[in-house]
Amino acid sequence: MKVLYFAWLRQQVGVAEEALALPANVETVGGMLEWLRGRSERHNKALQDLSVVRVAVNQEYARVDDPVSDDDEVALFPPVTGG
């Protein structure tokens, strides 16, 4: 699985992108976020308030119940501020 981070999430996690192997028992966006939190102190801190974290799976917005698999491109970022 490819995981991308943007804006302050990128700064807090410390990388823009990482290639990870998603455990077989993690099947939803919510489960993936839990699992990512456990990867490091930086991940945990960056993802501590999920109300300010948006998730895209294969470049489409996703919710915590949506499915996710090891083939997906996942992105985590704050609420958008373009325009």
Binding site: A7, A56, Q59, E60, P78, T81, G82, G83
Partner: protein
């Protein structure tokens, strides 16, 4: 049409191209967003727009397609810049052309309102107090929300 680019754009040229040779068009509504030199009470000397290449284009295309499904448009346009910008610089241009004035005006407002809450861009402002990531505003969510469900039938 969707364009995501680092460089500036020529508003007159873009709006001319939009309507050229289509004499069904009776009105072209457009909105240009520019960099302000203050944000709240902080002074801003520059900003950097980060985005998510690929998803940005995909989401802007969806916003445009939604506008064209809701209003009878002859042409539409979204150009959004990324990279470092200074106060007064143009950030975004949206435009909608239609036989009917109200359709053009409403679609234009819709394009910018939806873009603001859907397109994956993030602003990092540079100012007196260093770099600050701009926070999403509740007003922007409210502005986008007024277009949901029943708004499509107001025309």
């Amino acid at each position: 049409m969707i364009r995501v680019q680092r460089e500036d754009f020529d508003v007159g040229l873009e709006l001319d191209s939009l309507a050229r040779d289509n004499h069904v068009i009776g009105g072209i509504a457009s909105f240009i967003g520019t960099v302000r030199d203050i944000a709240g009470d902080r002074s801003v000397s520059a900003m950097t727009l980060e985005h998510y290449p690929g998803m940005t284009e995909k989401q802007l295309a969806k916003v445009e397609a939604e506008a064209r499904a809701r209003w009878p448009l002859e042409a539409s346009l979204i150009i959004h810049r990324y990279g470092r910008l200074e106060p007064g610089d143009r950030i975004v241009l949206v435009a909608a052309a239609s036989a009917h004035r109200q359709a053009a005006l409403e679609a234009c407002a819709f394009l910018i309102d939806w873009l603001k809450t859907k397109a994956p861009f993030w602003k990092l402002e540079e100012g007196d107090t260093g770099g600050t990531w701009v926070e999403a505003r509740a007003e922007d969510d409210a502005a986008a929300a007024r277009w949901s469900s029943d708004a499509a039938t107001q025309e």
